[in-house]
């Protein structure tokens, strides 16, 4: 038995981390937040083979496992890196590969030349002002918080959990940026005026596999973001002095750091297991994905708050930029189902509700 990352996975993690450390430091994240494009970041990740990670070999991919993708997601979260990873490298390849018949799109995704965003709002929780209806190869209505803003096409899920592919350039599609607290990602409102929509799959298991892996990736992203916050809090506490001593020498501060660690450490194993289960343990995959999403949301919220508190007033500033991690954990929590909703799904999947 070996519960842990393989040597290859550790190497993958190192190479992504190295790239992000060198090219996507907080200053770069800030320029993205202020409106710059993320093209160069995606280009760099493409050179490392990231968009091809989950694409089948037959379509030019490397056909690695969800656990490999989770390793990357964690690094991206650690560096609050912008980029279309979740949609273009994870959810879209998963959907298209399991639906079949999309060789061209898969090859383009693998090459990092094509971005597919995700518009699952309708299927997760329909809002009064955003509803989607699809019929006869056309789609009408709107999706809120579709991700990402610069995608070439969107994978849209309707309330029947059917998946459609809608081209960003299609006639009748309007796209407007929606500001959220998390400025490390750009989301949009899509308005469909009887837009051409290609049915990708009406098999709900395709939708489920896509959603599950998306949720596990958001959890992995939070794992990385929360770990970064703990690391920063511990380093700050050792260096900041009050009452003639490092604040790290106060038991109150030590305990905040220890509690964050005690909460987050088991999450690492949980994310690994959930990612592994997606490919290898079909009976456990769905429930674990739900719990991992919800649990990481809760731990992420706790760590985000506590790490900010360790920094005192400095934690509240834009100057330090800790809030980018705080908000990243916050948006991972809300996307693709907030905790109560996802836990209810976990109960239903087990026949408990």
């Amino acid at each position: 038995m070996r519960f842990g990352l393989s040597e290859e996975q550790t190497l993958l993690e190192d190479s992504v981390n190295r790239f992000l450390r060198d090219h996507v430091a907080l200053d770069r994240v800030r320029t993205y937040a202020d409106g710059d494009s993320d093209d160069d970041i995606w280009q760099g990740l493409t050179e490392l083979g990231i968009p091809a990670l989950l694409v089948p070999e037959a379509q030019g991919g490397v056909e690695l496992s969800p656990l490999d993708a989770a390793v990357v997601a964690e690094s991206l979260g650690y560096h609050v890196a912008p980029g279309p990873f979740l949609g273009s490298a994870v959810m879209a390849p998963t959907a298209l590969a399991s639906a079949g018949d999309h060789d061209e799109e898969l090859s383009a995704l693998a090459a990092g030349e094509f971005r597919i965003g995700i518009a699952f709002g309708e299927s997760i929780g329909r809002r009064i002002e955003a509803q989607v209806t699809a019929a006869g190869g056309r789609i009408s209505g709107s999706s809120l918080f579709a991700f990402d803003a610069d995608a070439d096409a969107y994978l849209v899920a309707d309330s029947n959990h059917h998946l459609y592919l809608v081209r960003a350039a299609a006639t009748g599609l309007e796209r407007a940026v929606l500001t959220t607290v998390d400025r490390t990602r750009r989301t949009v409102e899509l308005t469909y005026n009887n837009v051409e929509a290609e049915l990708v799959s009406d098999d709900t298991s395709v939708y489920e596999a896509t959603l599950d892996i998306g949720r596990v990736m958001l959890a992995a992203d939070t794992l990385g973001a929360a770990q970064a916050m703990i690391d920063q809090a511990v380093a700050y506490a050792k260096q900041r002095e009050q009452f003639n001593r490092p604040i790290a020498s106060f038991q109150a501060v030590k305990h905040m750091c220890a509690e964050m660690t005690a909460s987050l450490e088991p999450c690492r194993a949980m994310v690994w297991f959930a990612a592994h289960a997606l490919a290898d343990l079909p009976d456990e995959a769905r429930v674990t994905a739900c719990h991992t999403k919800a649990h990481l949301a809760e731990v992420g919220k706790f760590v985000a708050k506590t790490a900010t508190e360790v920094h005192g007033g400095m934690g509240f500033t834009d100057l330090l930029g800790l809030h980018y991690w705080f908000k990243r954990c916050g948006s991972n929590r809300q996307w693709l189902g907030a905790p109560e909703l996802v836990r209810e799904e976990a109960a239903q999947l087990q026949g408990l509700a």
């Binding site: 002095e241 509240f316 100057l319 996307w335």
Partner: protein, 397 residues
Amino acid sequence: MDLSFGPEYEEFRAEVQTFLREHGGRSPQNAGMRAPESLAWQKLLIENGYTARTIPKEYGGFGAPPDIIKSRIIAEEFADARVNTGLGGQGISMLVPTLLEMGTEAQKLELIKPTIQGEMIWCQGYSEPGAGSDLASLTTRAVLDGDEWVVNGQKIWTSTAQLADWIFCLVRTEPDAPKHKGISFLLFKMDTPGIEIRPLVDMTGVANFNETFFTDVRLPKDQIVGQRGEGWMVANAVLGHERDSLGNPNNTLMRLNALTELMKTETVGGERLIDNPVYRDRLMQIQGRVMAMRFNDLRVLSSRLNKGQDAALARMIVKLQGTELRHDLEGMAIDILGEVGLSYGDNPHTRSAGSWQSQYMYYLGLIIGGGTSQIQKNIISERGLDMPREPKVEKAG
């Protein structure tokens, strides 16, 4: 236990309710401190005795004899009607009580009236880069040169310094005295030469606090509250006022009402949020906590009316519990809104004017500001529970 305030108070309550019915609809919403409608509303409230109630007439107040039950009724009724209770800010909530308690007659006459009318805005110059939780180690210094104090040094986290007309400031004037005994409480104008303000953007994206630098700032010798070296005592006398206002359960009640309203109107997948039993239970938990804090507040009030009733601990926990509760409440609204809860700024899908996210963050700021939660716990255990203090560490070198 007797919970009735008595018939004369019920009459007073009816008066307040009439006022709110007649004028409440015109109370400003989200207007700035200097906005004409804010100043007009403030004036109306003072004239009717609904703010600055017990401040003597000669200082611009309403001049009613102190009656905490009436103040309480006003707070309750305004919260219930969700009507703006008038201007706040550090001048009104902290400096005015300080001056009333410890200012000279000349200071009271000059400063209180314009402050409560909203024409003189104050900022609080306490924290420094090296002196946050350990405030008493502050190093901004003032020396007397003839009839003037000359101030040099730096403050940080100075909220609203960019708007303020005046600052109340803690400075070291007795460098040889023990650290708590060497501090004085000075008042000066923010347009005095030698003051530089650098805005600091906070996590909400707004530059509400600042770094404030003083280079040879000169002010008249008499602009001191209390005596030289008494500044720590003066500051501590009003810190209690600040902490009470930070955890105020009546404001939290207003937000609870707004959250309840949101849950009754917002639907997800066709279902009203209030019809989801899990969300409803969370709401009930928050409501229970708000209730406990409101009754705690009543008990604190009672202890001030009745000699021999001790509520020291009940008062000591207000800042800690009140700010954490408020942060949780705002966070719950975000949760139940799902992805829509992430909306911010100019996003047309924000609910309740976009306040949930900004208040969620702002209250994390208040968990830190005004004495962090950890410092509050130290105070509760050391002063409230008489537990031994952490051993002091002497300055190295």
